[in-house]
Symmetry: C2
Subunit: 189 residues, 2 copies
């Protein structure tokens, strides 16, 4: 499988075999599966155990799915018609204890998102986090408050063959993943 990461070190299969897929099958993802994925996310660490994350989700065939799909950037819409659902990730910007700004909110919600995508992978469910969303429009549709920040939309589903996609999505699905070599982002001090 061309998408499986070729790594220098013995990285977990769970991590090597995950990618942001574009080819989703018709198979539905159950509400229970989504709840498992989101509960896994919630066991991420956060500063002072603040748990600043919130998630809104919609399964294909619901009005919520259409609402979210309509807010995707045009380049993300075609290959997401087959997604089994969407998860919207949201960070609460202030601390629950005193209402002061939480400087770690986006970072900690990111950690939870890391847990989320790996839990999904372990269940054979592929995810694709997207920043390419009309966040202003979607925030209004989902009643995101001033105290919250919409970070990304994650589409998910079981995998289908890449050949069912149209170009340019098929080509992207069939291209190997690449990362910078360690020396470019790691330094021993």
């Amino acid at each position: 499988m061309i998408k499986h990461a070729i790594t220098q070190s013995p990285v977990l299969d769970l991590i090597k075999e995950r990618w942001s897929a574009r080819s989703f099958s018709h198979k539905e993802v159950t509400k229970d599966a989504v709840h498992t994925i989101l509960e896994a996310a919630s066991w991420a660490p956060s500063a002072n155990n603040e748990q600043p994350w919130e998630f809104q989700y919609a399964l294909r065939g619901t009005p919520g799915f259409d609402t979210i799909w309509n807010c995707l950037m045009p380049g993300n819409q075609p290959w997401n018609k087959q997604a089994a659902g969407f998860i919207v990730t949201i960070a609460r910007k202030t601390l629950s204890a005193n209402g002061n700004p939480n400087a770690n909110a986006e970072h900690d919600t990111g950690i939870a998102t890391g847990f989320l995508v790996l839990q999904a992978s372990s269940m054979g469910i592929y995810t694709h986090p997207m920043g390419g969303v009309d966040k202003v429009k979607l925030s209004a549709e989902l009643n995101i408050t001033e105290d919250e920040k919409l970070l990304c939309v994650i589409s998910f589903g079981y995998l289908d063959v890449a050949e069912k996609l149209e170009e340019p999505f098929k080509g992207r699905e069939l291209t190997a993943r690449t990362r910078k070599p360690l020396v470019e982002f790691v330094k021993a001090v």
Copy 2:
């Protein structure tokens, strides 16, 4: 083990069995193991595959270790004397393509940190991300530039028994982990 998460859904053991430990053993973590953990982090998804993360690390017994330890908040210093090492996570604030601000930098570095802590767990290495750091001082010590932002310091090591810790750290290490129930952070739309 009281720290193992009691979950409602069948969450991955890797996630259930991870916690931000405070009790580290004398056993050293090798440079190769750190490189594996950081390579795993780099396979996280990021907007446009920007990979905005950078990591600086130091193993116990090196001058870099003392430099980082000296920048921890006093409450984090005692139990970190036995850490096998520290990883400092850093987000690059601008996009490599055009120098514009990267709105996803902290979030995406958070996702990578999620991968990092789970890769470490799978190797029996416990991690503890800390925001309680003198970030101004440490940024100066590590030559963090204006274009970069120091997010957190992660201490790591193999586990030792909690009983070796002094209070209040022993009590914290022996307290069960808690998370909000799903209904408080998840909404179907």
